[in-house]
Amino acid sequence: MIRFTHVSKRYPGGFEALSNINFHMEKGAMAFLTGHSGAGKSTLLKLVALIEYATRGQVILDGENVTGISKRRIPYIRRKIGFIFQEHHLLFDRTVFDNVALPLIIAGYRHQDIGRRVRAALDKLGLLSKERLYPVTLSGGEQQRVGIARAVVNKPMLLLADEPTGNLDPDLSREIMSLFSLFNDVGVSVLIASHDIPLIETLEYPVLSLDQGRLAHDVSGAA
């Protein structure tokens, strides 16, 4: 699903955020990405999300080399990926339903399909009763789940999560993580950046550990 070959990322000014990263995450796998802040977690996710581009090496997503991809192609690759952010990035002038429907509208689904799929996603995340509410009236955990519903509604092949439990208490965090496990069980690849080591250790998934831009653990066996 994701393959990095000798990937380095140097920002203008000379700071090298990632150096010589090699890893391969199989289709349908789930893995955690850990490390101190500044270790390069976000940069690695941005390379996968095509927000940043590797200065050296090759990034292959779903069999497609995206290292020097054309700008016109980017939206179509992003549609294969569901993003979950720490700041969830919901649109506050729209209802929960409209927020979750956004990826489907972008992809050009028919009106009837949109309703059906959005309700299915909201149902899975226990938010069906909240579809008409505005995000601002929801709790932090509920907002995060709306963000997850939006990420999965399009049935993406890959879920990317950047500190999805960063603002949540331990119980909610565990609940969110088990949701990711559920999606992984139905074949979605999941990559989660998190520094919540205690929580990660209770879950039996491979861990990619970044330290100052380098992969500290060899995780080839795990992924």
Binding site: R3, I51, G63, E64, L91, G108, A151
Partner: protein
């Protein structure tokens, strides 16, 4: 990695899938209608700034439109005079009444001529006396000094300067003619002035059209800045530039349409305010002239122009500012 080659085909498949979905007529129309309505709803929710922007556009559109209509009315008026643009043929002093009548009968047969009227010296003297107030003084004259005059109205196609000149030369060539005089000159001067006015209005129109585009462009630019977060999120979840652009382009179109509709109201109101004094003035000239207001075609042009300018203006803003917003 053995899957690599096989999977490389998948993006294309995905792309074709997307294309099929986008081009299915129901979806295509549906999503455009949806975006158009969404944009309109957004303008409606913030109706005060919307109306203010639309009013600026309306004034800029109403100006050339109103001027153009005024000019059209003026041309209609001068056109009705142009029909009366006549030629005066003064006959020689020694022409007798029988000869003048014979000439009249002869000239009436000419194809260049719409109508011709013979004014006898006594009629002319009487009219001159009446109009000048010198009737008493004129009574002292022993002999009428005025000649016979033919007042010639050229047929429609002989009104233009060249043909009228030829017709005058034909009259000059007649042995009975003392002097053939064209009364068209002032009409031609008026036409020249109106031509200049046309040009001026064209220049004003172009400048104001530019102003409309800039107003719409600036409004849309602000709108883009306000919705920066939304643009970032939609780009991040796979929106194409076209998708992100669309609501702003529709927004620009709505501004243009609203501006055109208000402009129409402004022009109608302006002409309504003018109509009463104009018909009073016309009454003083014993004319039943009245102002003609916006014909349907011009309303169509106004709407189409507003739409186009709105679209172009927003296109300018979108092209410049949207690409700059990329997730980071």
């Amino acid at each position: 990695m053995s899957r690599g080659r096989k999977n490389r085909r998948q993006p294309q498949h995905h792309w074709q899938d997307n294309l099929r979905r986008l081009l299915s007529p129901g979806t295509f129309v549906q999503r455009h209608a949806q975006v158009a309505l969404d944009s309109l709803g957004r303008l409606y929710r913030n109706w005060i700034p919307t109306v203010m922007t639309a009013a600026v556009i309306a004034i800029a559109l109403a100006m050339p439109c109103g001027l153009y209509l005024l000019l059209g009315n003026l041309e209609r008026l001068s056109g009705s005079w142009e029909g009366q643009a006549s030629m005066s043929i003064f006959l020689k002093q020694d022409i007798t009444d029988t000869r003048a009548q014979a000439l009249l009968a002869q000239v009436e047969e000419w194809p260049e001529i719409e109508s011709v009227q013979l004014i006898t010296p006594s009629q002319a003297l009487e009219e001159f006396g009446r109009q000048s107030g010198f009737a008493d003084v004129l009574g002292v004259l022993e002999e009428n000094p005025l000649p016979y005059v033919l007042i010639v109205l050229p047929a429609g196609e002989y009104i233009d300067p060249v043909a009228a000149g030829t017709l005058r030369d034909r009259f000059s060539g007649l042995p009975e003619t003392e002097l053939a005089q064209l009364d068209l000159q002032w009409v031609q001067r008026l036409a020249a002035i109106l031509d200049i006015a046309h040009r001026v209005i064209l220049i004003i129109s172009v400048l104001l059209a530019l102003a409309v585009m800039l107003v719409v462009g600036n409004t849309i630019r602000l709108e883009i800045q306000n919705r920066r977060e939304e643009i970032l999120v939609t780009k991040l979840i796979g929106a194409t530039n076209g998708f992100v652009r669309r609501p702003f382009l529709y927004g620009g179109i709505w501004y243009g349409v609203l501006g055109a509709l208000i402009a129409w109201g402004v022009v109608e109101a302006g002409f309504w305010l003018l109509s009463e004094p104009v018909s009073r003035l016309a009454g003083l000239y014993r004319s039943d002239f009245s102002l003609e207001t916006l014909p349907v075609q011009l309303l169509g042009i106004l709407l189409a122009g507003g739409t186009l300018l709105g679209l172009l203006g927003s296109w300018l803003a979108v092209g410049r500012h949207l690409d700059a917003i990329e997730p980071s």
